[in-house]
Subunit: 372 residues, 4 copies
Amino acid sequence: MKAKYDVGIIGGGIIGQSIAYQLAKENISVVVLEGNKVGAGATSAAAGMLGASSELENNDAFFQFAKESQQQYKTLRHDLTNLSQINIQYVDKGMYKLAFTEQEAYVLKTAMKEHHSLEWHSKQQVLAMEPNLSKEIVGGLYIPEDGHVSPKHVCAAFSKSASLLGAVIVENSPVHSIKKLGEEEYILFTNQSEYSCSHIVIANGVWSDYFFKQLDLEMKVKPVKGECLAVSSENISLEKTIFYDHCYIVPKGDGRLVVGATMVEDDWSTTPTVGGIQTLIEKITPILPAIKSAKLLETWAGLRPQTDDGKPYIGQHPNGENIYFATGHYRNGILLAPKTGTMVRDLILKRKLNEDYVKAFSITRNLAKAAR
Amino acid sequence: MKAKYDVGIIGGGIIGQSIAYQLAKENISVVVLEGNKVGAGATSAAAGMLGASSELENNDAFFQFAKESQQQYKTLRHDLTNLSQINIQYVDKGMYKLAFTEQEAYVLKTAMKEHHSLEWHSKQQVLAMEPNLSKEIVGGLYIPEDGHVSPKHVCAAFSKSASLLGAVIVENSPVHSIKKLGEEEYILFTNQSEYSCSHIVIANGVWSDYFFKQLDLEMKVKPVKGECLAVSSENISLEKTIFYDHCYIVPKGDGRLVVGATMVEDDWSTTPTVGGIQTLIEKITPILPAIKSAKLLETWAGLRPQTDDGKPYIGQHPNGENIYFATGHYRNGILLAPKTGTMVRDLILKRKLNEDYVKAFSITRNLAKAAR
Amino acid sequence: MKAKYDVGIIGGGIIGQSIAYQLAKENISVVVLEGNKVGAGATSAAAGMLGASSELENNDAFFQFAKESQQQYKTLRHDLTNLSQINIQYVDKGMYKLAFTEQEAYVLKTAMKEHHSLEWHSKQQVLAMEPNLSKEIVGGLYIPEDGHVSPKHVCAAFSKSASLLGAVIVENSPVHSIKKLGEEEYILFTNQSEYSCSHIVIANGVWSDYFFKQLDLEMKVKPVKGECLAVSSENISLEKTIFYDHCYIVPKGDGRLVVGATMVEDDWSTTPTVGGIQTLIEKITPILPAIKSAKLLETWAGLRPQTDDGKPYIGQHPNGENIYFATGHYRNGILLAPKTGTMVRDLILKRKLNEDYVKAFSITRNLAKAAR
Amino acid sequence: MKAKYDVGIIGGGIIGQSIAYQLAKENISVVVLEGNKVGAGATSAAAGMLGASSELENNDAFFQFAKESQQQYKTLRHDLTNLSQINIQYVDKGMYKLAFTEQEAYVLKTAMKEHHSLEWHSKQQVLAMEPNLSKEIVGGLYIPEDGHVSPKHVCAAFSKSASLLGAVIVENSPVHSIKKLGEEEYILFTNQSEYSCSHIVIANGVWSDYFFKQLDLEMKVKPVKGECLAVSSENISLEKTIFYDHCYIVPKGDGRLVVGATMVEDDWSTTPTVGGIQTLIEKITPILPAIKSAKLLETWAGLRPQTDDGKPYIGQHPNGENIYFATGHYRNGILLAPKTGTMVRDLILKRKLNEDYVKAFSITRNLAKAAR
């Protein structure tokens, strides 16, 4: 005899746990099936930047969604701590996107037109604030809202909160297949057991590609491996996240500076390579020269789930199956986790949705485009 | 387009890698698909005892198979080091099975009738050899052949040797399903890719239960969780493995004493619990009292794959499919890995087999029994 | 040629770093000489309880000092984060001291007379708040002010803040001897170098006993080893620190429950023993029965510096040397670090001091008593 | 009342433990006082090459001493395992010193004249043996005797063997000063206790410089920090140690390739820096190009104790004090540990010594030279 749940979530990373938390709060019965340990995949590898303005370039639906998600962290940080006693390590000191040439400065400044909170800081202003940065900069775009969190603490806080609200979290339990028994009855098959669920959410990042194939859908999620390192130094003062040329330095609240990340396509390994770490050091040293004498503490790697257009798939199965997708968050999984959680909750509960978001993240959006 | 292999092995633990090594040596093209990291499951959790006489009680086919496997380690240790440069940490100092009552001594002594290398040592003899053991013992059965290896080094040596001989080892790649295309053509589906193979070997321990179900076979493999701890002490002298009441203390070549193991059924967690470690300490302290002041170095847990009768399934699919099983090795996976490797190789290559072993490990043996 | 400093601090744990921070803020030149890594000793081993009311039984100078120190954390948490970007993980959810018998309840209730913020909660009230506690309790004393911090984060935040304010922090640098050259000139000898300092502060916990001897003082600081363990569980809800019979469970903001601690005298080892961990499990299980099935994450040990009467030595050398002591904080080093920092600063700067504190922590107090 | 010992050894690294083992074997009562954990300093950081021919360039007393020490490992490996059950991981597959230019080849070939076991291998021969090496080499000097061991296992085996033979090993116990009480009576002062010893051996590597100063001797031992990294790869086949331009790659028996080492003077930090690891990667990649895609497993650093002329100080105090030195082994501590152990034993027991060695390692040799 199988256990029965309203919703079965495949994937216990930050996305799956955010959804589980939002559903458990509504008294929906939920099971989360995680193939490894909770948060052990892309979640733990992420630096935790909440880079709505820094990562996204257009003022489109994706950007609006990201801003709302960023905003949600402000209440979540309290709600999650109250329930789970876990502190998500929210830091809101902002970010600098640096320019080393006038051309780069010009491009950054154009972003200010659309986003009114952004400020241009001259070289002198930037160095007054962050004296350890390279003297070669010409200035920096200051983005006050782009803070950071600790991804594994956020994920653990979602997970424990969901669990205390009644959700069942199962580790070491990869889902092998989904079988439809009836209108609102699916079976999730794992090595350990079978789970009967009225609704299914596929939220397992790079591993979700397999289910697209199994469900005969043409979408793809591909891994883009990112390698990172962490350093510390008693002599480097750094308050704000620094961003330049796809690399970043995040001053975490535990004293580590997290540096990332490489972009390696079609590599499923989760261990950094010698060459990857070398590349990262070469890119970061010109930005923060003092880092050369910082203590190298650790190195690691993770797999970002990338879709064809770099935006996540958040939506229902195209032919109305009670199967939902929340995957492909690429570089933005931590940022987008809160809003993804509430959007999937609303999809399942048939609540009113922002149609711009539905369209922007529809899993068939690229097919439509391809057909045109 | 899929890659094509003669043999696809599901599971990159010590069993799968032993098979891969034996096949690669015969120039068979092999792919090993491991869901996590090579050797990360039951293999790494094992203490590595080669306890043919100590674990098995009858002089039957199972015991003969175990003795042959134990014997194979004597040549493997050299072959694997020569090829892979990895030292499997073979130690052949023997084992004591202790008796604390005359009744226990009587039972142990009866084992000597069938196994001529065994010796009964009096309390004085045992304590002369192992002065830190409890003074409460009445004697011990000395088993000279039962040495130990380092399971993760054996697995790494098999894996690297197989790889250098041409086998392809893929990590982070759980197999989700097996599809038959033709007489000698199966597809293995993973998240990452699809692999076309003429023969399939299912060797993924507790996770293989899923394939029995998928293939509509009635066999079962269930996890029995075992918790362990490692200690060290400059003052405890221990040369031989000590065994009593399902617990053991193995003096490893790196100076650690490995203590195991609890037996917890139907628990898929791979983290030790507070209660499990407490039980282990309570059981082991009366055997080696000085352990109370030893340094506690680490604790861990693993899942032993148990079949209905405690013997492994090694054999072909009952209706002649080119699907082979090598799973369910329970407490004896390290001991049995070498002989399992050669037996599966011989099965696939249609070489002459010992019929006693074929029967003893046939996957249908229990069905037959049940039907009788 | 030696470097010259106003103050040389021996010991880079939480006490030494708190003093360094307070002095550096006043533009005093400081060198901190740490024998190992910053915070690697008793600091890192501590659970971080700020147990003024829970640890101290009388409403005396010691208690007042502890309360002031506890209070200082409320501003320090902001000041330190602003300067160092390190979050000290301050949690202010309070503590329960449990009673399992009416006699224990009676003793706890008497404490309420002197401390007006304390509240007695009945069994029902306690279990309503903390449902996973033992049903055998008869009630609990609720202490709202006794929160907790992360000791290694506090120490790192003091150290980095001091460093950014100009203090010099030297690791791997045990001080071997102090030599007086003149009225305000001492040399600190280390393996690496010599440091000329006008004032010396001895703040190296259990290691400071050596300097008492070297300076021909009769005070003593002895180690009392404490062993701890950390667990986690998705099913245990615990908001407040729990205290009973010298054992505690602290729900840390990273999801771990830290359990401590044994008390082993005259043992300088910093590794937990098998027997110590067993004792701890046996004591804690009746308090929080669900802990038996919690995941055991790690075990460790540290050395508390204990004086003859259990109170710290904070004060100047008895014959007016410019040598100061800040050691012997026993179970209360984390709690007392802030106030110790400001008191030593005031001692060195000849500022007005609370005479009750000067007397209570004078290094000659016990001699006086002994002579009486 | 103080404990009394024939010999007090300051330093529990591989040198101190080798001496302790040799003395304990002769029934001499020994105490080893280690400031941290046994083997935690330079010992653990070393790669363990036994590079007599590869590291030393002249056929002088130093070289003869090194060859004898290398030879001693052949019996020690068995003796230590029999006593302690610890396997020192001895590997005797030899070493290649590579040449990338004809000039380098010429220099290497000249070494063959004096050392008859050396062989010159052409580019083709080297690549046939080690196919993953750079195709840019012009050949290699093959040194069959230069194997390797695991330094921390050697140290642990010496320590446990000495302990089982009666030596007392005290951790967490830095010695602060030596006081002479009489002809054969010294007191060693530590934080924990005082130890009365008839003879003193100073064997604490970079930390021994302090005692030269305290004893008014003019010798110096300076740290030269070395940073290392370890990698693994299923695809890199490497049997022999590779050496080029002060860098090496050692294929350890656990499957790791250990790569070292930088040379940083006057740096007492034991954590690798970002810049140091970058340098190491840049130097090693041209030698073994495939290493770029190897998994980076860990990085670390240690402090080699360097004397003025790069040779160790092994000998008695110049004015006949019963104080002995065994320090300053620089890059060769692992190689020289066995012979240093027997030489110091013979010094203390007034046995016949090789006068060439006495002169070569005399602590006053450089003074004599300076005076000339």
